[in-house]
């Protein structure tokens, strides 16, 4: 009897050990959701419809790049499957879509989602579920700071942006004005929300001690406004000689045209989210006088830098995988090259996450990026992050428009770093 007992005991122990061994082995190959031996599932939310739909070409460009990568062996043998979902810039729609991506579609990561408010609605959820929220398409500085400090109830280590943040951009303009035209009287026309206020704060920081004397007036507009004539007239009436347009494409175009139509020719600075050549040409077509308008860039220009290998590379990819975008790319559509740049960075990070990436290794790769050769960003820009620095791109160059209604952006000066 005792022998049987001992045998059973030994058997049980053997089973237990075997069980542990098996589970340990399984643990070693245990994969995160969204990743199989042959595919990686990712998804993002974008305003394909609604007020912000001017940006809908971005996810299409990203997909084109992924199609190219997939056709060339994928990332370590895995093809990228990218879901593009429409949230119409409404956080109440973004939330269920992101929940769907995480819980239903079981994506490996969320990539490129556009918008500050949609991001703020979902970053708590995404971080608590430990899902990488990668390269948000928004220049809000939260995405950079809140990986290390508590924001809205906790740090958000899984969230990271990509583009230079808005305050850094306007700080650059502020410094430039303080140095070159210290007696300027700046009139600001701005979207009356956090986007606009971010820019104004940065400008004031850049102007330094001159801030209160340099800013002549601020006039806001609502995101849904379709005309800004009253605001432009008020700025003109106050005697401002410099105009800072903080707007998304619709109101940026309207502001540029209206300024000309009311007989005003201030020195104009334009937030780079609307500096796409396509929109500038549209403004000029409507009679805006756009020579001398100043903005900034961190991307190559598909037109000015057409002969660079990066731009040609992009053109080839689009021709093959998203030819609908080729025409606007060839006209200088910066949204398209932005999308290519983001996708390239993601693929690199994925490659650096190892042969069998997990969410943890991806996060590690994202927080130790040091890429100096993204073919789509402006020459010399390094994409860098570290445990202390969660802003991938911190350099930009100022650009100035020349050539009127068929002209283009020309770079001026040298690359500037924002120094966080």
């Amino acid at each position: 009897m005792r022998n049987k007992g001992r045998m059973l005991g030994a058997l049980a122990a053997a089973v237990a050990v075997a069980g542990f061994a098996v589970s340990a082995a399984a643990g070693a190959h245990q994969t995160d959701p969204g990743i199989t031996k042959t595919s990686i599932k990712i998804g993002g939310t974008f305003p394909l419809t609604g007020v912000a739909s001017a940006y809908k070409t971005i996810p299409l460009a990203e997909k084109a790049y992924f199609d190219y990568v997939n056709a060339h062996g994928g990332v370590n043998g895995r093809k990228i499957d990218f879901s593009i979902l429409d949230d119409a810039y409404n956080p109440a729609q973004t939330v269920p879509l992101v929940q769907q991506l995480v819980e239903q579609d079981k994506v490996f990561a969320i990539l490129g989602s556009l918008g500050t408010a949609p991001g703020l609605a979902t970053w708590g959820y995404v971080n608590s579920h430990k899902v990488p929220q990668v390269f948000l398409a928004s220049g809000d500085s939260y995405w950079g700071f809140c990986a290390h400090q508590a924001c809205a109830g906790g740090t958000k280590p899984y969230t990271i942006g990509w583009q230079p943040d808005y305050p850094a951009e306007s700080r650059m303009y502020g410094k430039y004005i303080a140095k070159n035209t210290p007696n300027a009287k700046i009139g600001i026309i701005y979207q009356n929300d956090a986007f606009g206020k971010n820019y104004i704060n940065g400008l004031k920081q850049g102007l330094g001690s001159k801030a209160s004397s340099a800013i002549c007036d601020q006039e806001g507009f609502a995101a849904t406004d379709t005309t800004v004539t009253q605001q432009i007239l008020t700025l003109k009436g106050k005697g401002c000689d410099t105009l800072f347009i903080v707007a998304t494409p619709s109101q940026a175009i309207t502001s540029l045209v209206t300024a000309t139509k009311v007989g005003w020719s201030p020195t104009t600075y334009l937030s780079n989210v609307s500096a796409n050549r396509i929109f500038m040409l549209l403004a000029a077509k409507n009679g805006a006088n756009i020579d001398g308008v100043i903005s900034s860039s961190y991307l190559l220009s598909p037109t000015v830098n057409a002969s660079s290998s990066g731009v040609k590379f992009g053109a080839a990819i689009l021709a093959q995988y998203q030819s609908a975008l080729s025409a606007s790319y060839a006209s200088g559509d910066s949204n398209v090259i932005y999308g290519l740049g983001v996708a390239w960075t993601f693929v690199r990070a994925l490659q650096n996450a190892g042969k069998n990436p997990t969410r943890a290794t991806l996060e590690k790769a994202l927080h130790s990026m040091n890429y100096a050769n993204n073919p789509f960003v402006y020459t010399g820009i390094k994409i860098q992050t570290s445990s202390k620095d969660n802003f991938p791109i911190e350099q930009e160059i100022m650009i100035k428009w020349a050539g009127g209604a068929s002209g283009d952006w020309q770079t001026t000066g040298s690359l500037q770093a924002s120094g966080h």
Binding site: E103, A117, L120, A121, G124, Y125, G153
Partner: protein, 315 residues
């Protein structure tokens, strides 16, 4: 709403179905059905106003916004228990509803529709203006977020409680007064009903219900309240839901809530039109068709079916 035995059976069956559902569906779908409960509550409130006191409102999204922001702010600043915030939302929106109901006394029909529409458009703008307290475009984030299952349970429990509350209100003196007002204001006054009190009360109650719906709506949006969530389309959705529901039928209200809550998700995969635009086209088309084919809403269809099946009733 008079409940016969058949109706009572229907209510119990409905409650049983709702209680069992979460065990049959995934976590994610529970969140979806919780949304249906949110619309159920809002539509129930609007039903009281439109169906029972004859006043129209295209602005109930504004009351949802007030209720939603109440929850988010109380949670963010005072870490208030979420269920308790719903009680606050109910009370605060009841008061706001009374405030709106008073001037509404002077308006009727189309004018009231326009005035409430103006309310719906203006309220999100106010959240943008007073951004220090109300968060502006960065919104207000509650301190606590909830799981899908909690949300499902809380929202349907609240829906059930509010349904019973509505039933009690409407079968009593208040309900009789409301119906009298709806049918003929002249007759109601001449029989001694103080019109202003009852009409204003109807607004208050209706707004309070919408406020609670708003609380749950924000909880369903990861506890995040932001102006873009409360655009005009929300008020239009509640109105459409009430129209689809028709008058006086629990199943009608469920149908209306399901229509508005589930249609966007279902119509995302509509062929031909494509996912991005499918929602709007299908929603708009269905709304028009429903109004053309069943102008009394679901309740009307049910009533017609009843008439077909039973012989004339002396009730």
């Amino acid at each position: 709403m008079r409940l016969s035995r058949a109706d009572l059976f229907g209510v119990v069956a409905g409650a049983a179905l709702i209680a069992v559902l979460p065990f049959l569906i995934s976590d994610y779908h529970q969140a979806l059905f919780a949304q249906v409960a949110v619309f159920f509550i809002a539509i129930l409130g609007l039903n009281i106003l439109v169906g029972y006191s004859g006043q129209i409102s295209i602005g109930h999204g504004a009351f949802m916004a007030i209720g939603g922001y109440t929850t988010a702010i109380l949670s963010r600043d005072h870490h208030t228990n979420l269920v308790l915030t719903m009680v606050f939302a109910f009370a605060i929106c009841f008061v706001f509803g009374l405030v709106v109901g008073l001037p509404a006394l002077r308006l009727s029909g189309v004018y009231l529709a326009l005035a409430t529409f103006a309310l719906a458009v203006s309220v999100p703008q106010i959240a943008l203006k007073f951004d220090k307290f109300l968060g502006g475009s960065n919104g207000v984030q509650s301190a606590k977020t909830v799981s899908h299952t909690w949300l499902y349970g809380a929202s349907w429990t609240t829906a059930a409680i509010l349904f019973v509350l509505a039933w009690l209100i409407l079968r009593g003196r208040l309900g009789r007064a409301f119906r009298a007002v709806r049918d003929s204001e002249v007759a109601a006054t001449s029989s001694g009903i103080a019109l202003p009190i009852y009409k204003t009360l109807a607004f208050g109650i209706s707004a309070a219900f919408a406020g609670v719906a708003g609380s749950l709506f924000v909880m369903a949006t990861n506890g995040f309240a932001q102006p873009n969530e409360f655009e005009v389309i929300l008020s239009l959705q509640i109105l459409v839901g009430a129209a689809v529901a028709g008058l006086g039928s629990l199943w009608g209200i469920l149908a209306g809530a399901a229509f508005v809550g589930l249609l966007p998700t279902i119509s995302k995969d509509v062929p031909v039109v494509g996912s991005a635009h499918g929602q709007d086209v299908v929603f708009g088309l269905l709304v028009v068709l429903v109004m053309l084919l069943m102008p009394q809403g679901f309740a009307g269809v049910l009533a017609a079916l009843k008439r077909l099946r039973t012989r004339p009733d002396t009730s």
